[in-house]
């Protein structure tokens, strides 16, 4: 009985030894890590270049019966930087601080050009703006247009006679406010 117990213990020890050997001969492979974190915030920046106001002046027709001649030399450049969360987009709206009776004030954004990248806006075409915000660009995702003139969207601001009955010779100053906003 005593020798059987010793034999069992010996066998047990042998198995433990063999299991240990098995693990020892398995090629060890170690891994450890460190983390890298970066937080990218939402960004909404918009600018107009060049700075300063533009003067728009109707020219009188030289032939009786003809309409007023619309002004030219009326462009600006719209720059923006937009960082959005996944699946969201932004618009650019334009609005006036006041309207001029008998005159339609219009803004047209061209397609983005120059440097820049990402999902830049799609023009709404020629838009007559008023004192409520009107969308001139839509579908802006994560994007940047590049800075200063010849980058971004060229804006053409134009005047058109509305109702001639409301026109009068006068000088007006209006402010156009552009806003980059979430939908």
């Amino acid at each position: 009985m005593g020798s059987k117990s010793v034999t069992l213990k010996k066998n047990k020890m042998k198995y433990i030894f063999l299991i240990l050997l098995f693990f020892l001969q398995t090629p060890p492979l170690w891994s450890q890590h460190r983390t890298v974190s970066i937080t990218l915030p939402t960004v909404a920046l918009l600018d107009i270049h060049p700075s300063g106001s533009i003067n728009l002046k109707f020219s009188a027709p030289t032939e009786a019966g003809n309409p007023l001649v619309n002004p030219s030399n009326n462009t600006k450049w719209l720059n923006y930087t937009s960082a959005v969360t996944a699946g969201t987009s932004r618009t650019v709206t334009a609005q006036l601080n006041q309207t001029i009776p008998g005159v339609a004030i219009r803004v047209q954004a061209a397609a983005a050009s120059g440097s820049g990248g990402g999902i830049r806006g799609v023009s709404a075409g020629l838009v007559t703006i008023g004192t409520s915000p009107s969308i001139i660009l839509s579908g802006i995702g994560g994007a940047f247009t590049g800075n200063d003139v010849n980058n971004g969207h060229q804006l053409t601001i134009s005047l058109a006679p509305g109702n001639y009955a409301n026109l009068s010779a006068q000088t007006n100053s209006v402010v156009i406010t552009y806003t980059l906003s979430d939908i």
């Binding site: 001969q25 170690w30 983390t35 937080t39 990218l40 960004v43 600018d47």
Partner: protein, 158 residues
């Protein structure tokens, strides 16, 4: 008996890597001018991570490999790279490190070889091998979010 001898020899193949240093929080300078983008690339300090490795002798060589895992989210446009900026200290005779001294892009799917530890008859223990991390592709075109990844270093015999 042969099994025991074989086991004894292969047991000497043991290699370990310990990752020291600290986690890195990359801070992108904010964009302040409309139309501009982030500068695009950020680098951690040259000793942001300190790797300590141990490889048995017997002319074994071991490779330190690296990969990343999102924790929990990362964006594929954000490219993580690592490079070895020194050797650290070692206690071995005629052992040396090779490779990894230029930036290596860290892949997500499978680990890529970073550098090799070459040994001779004696064990090679390298301590505090400095590693610099770089993240490139930082842009406003990457969706705004908090990103975090684990950079995993693995050592294996080659």
């Amino acid at each position: 008996m042969l099994f025991i001898l074989f086991s004894g020899i292969t047991a000497l193949d043991a290699q370990t890597v310990t990752v020291g240093g600290s986690n890195w929080i990359a801070n992108a300078a904010p964009v302040t001018e409309a139309g501009n983008n982030y500068s695009g690339t950020l680098e951690a300090s040259t000793n942001q991570i300190l790797l300590s490795t141990s490889v048995s002798g017997w002319f074994n060589a071991a490779a330190v490999s690296v990969q990343y895992q999102a924790d929990p989210i990362w964006h594929d446009d954000l490219v993580i790279s690592v490079k070895r900026t020194g050797n650290g200290t070692h206690t071995c005779l005629l052992c040396y490190l090779s490779g990894g001294d230029n930036y290596v892009i860290v892949p997500k799917v499978a680990s890529t070889q970073f550098y090799i530890i070459n040994t001779n008859l004696f064990p090679a223990n390298h301590n505090n091998t400095p590693v610099q991390i770089q993240v490139s592709g930082i842009s406003v075109t990457v969706p705004a979010a908090a990103y975090k990844a684990r950079v995993i270093f693995t050592i294996s015999s080659i």
